[in-house]
Subunit: 192 residues, 2 copies
């Protein structure tokens, strides 16, 4: 009988890796945690972690149960060039937050980050690697990282007021309205 | 003997008013709480609350122990006209947050707002009255309140990343650098 791709213990192994990843990222932060260390804690070979979950970024996304991989989305937006990227960034960001399952997970993440110093450290390291460095490199200016962080601050604050605090008229505005409002300012951080 | 201005029970009365105000704002929110109701709960005449604390906004600032009165600061900035108001708003905002006692109180307020729905409601009502309506009225456009809320989102997000999450290079940038970065974008919400 031919071997199937799915071995009997696969789902248990995946759970063990995810649990080891959650503990490992919380303990060491995103930068210092390693696939090798997480694999060791889960009692599996590092190659199996890569095989199931991909890169360390992908593993983080799976462990935090993120609705999307923010680094992959950002790369997609930036790959089309900087022209119009402000509007595409804002629209992509709002679309993820506007879907109820995405929103619940992300609101939970913001609550954790503002009340727990270790979670804040883990998230800021991930956000730097997954988002700021990619956006800064696309901007290609000496102050690219500062500009990228300013973009991030505008988006995070928008999410805070619109989805967490529920401030009107932001909370009820459509994605189109918010995109039209923010896009020119985000674009100016990218290209002016 | 002449009567002195300071009556024997004054500090006890002030404390009773502040405690009634904290409970009243938390219970009813900023909009529905009244000086009359708070005075009644404190067992004093409403005129005494006005005499000691001023307006309902002033009483809220005292009850929340805010380092400054944000409405008064915003009025000061806007009274000089919209030209250059972007830079003045950012610099004023950062100066309050950069002072350690101010920062501790404001970080505590953000933590409470994102984890407690009732506190969030109270704060969003106060922010609308004290800040958004003033800025919107200075902008004087049909979408003034949406623009004012967008400005608020950029400032709140900046505070989140710089002071709460500690994201670099924002956390270590000087007030001058952050002002130079944000001011043109805030200005464009005000006047373009």
């Amino acid at each position: 009988m031919a071997r199937t791709g799915r071995r009997p213990g696969e789902s248990g192994t995946r759970v063990a890796i995810i649990e080891a990843a959650r503990a490992g990222f919380a303990e060491a932060g995103f930068d210092r945690a390693t696939i090798r260390g997480i694999a060791e804690d889960a009692g599996v070979d590092p190659a199996l972690v890569h095989h199931y979950f991909g890169t360390k970024e992908d593993l983080f996304v799976a462990a935090m149960d993120l609705p999307v991989n923010p680094g992959v989305l950002a790369e997609g937006v930036l790959a089309e060039g900087l022209e119009g990227a402000g509007a595409r960034l804002v629209r992509t960001f709002l679309s993820v937050w506007d879907s109820p399952p995405g929103r619940d997970i992300l609101v939970g993440l913001i609550r954790t980050a503002v009340t727990n110093e270790r979670a804040a450290a883990m998230l800021r390291e991930f956000v730097r690697r997954a988002l700021l460095e990619r956006v800064a490199s696309a901007i290609g200016e000496p102050d690219g990282e500062l500009r990228a962080a300013a973009i991030g601050s505008h988006m995070v604050g928008m999410a805070m007021l619109r989805y967490v605090i529920g401030l009107e008229p932001l909370a009820s505005a459509s994605i189109d309205e918010v995109t039209a409002l923010l896009a020119p300012r985000i674009q100016s951080y990218l290209t002016s």
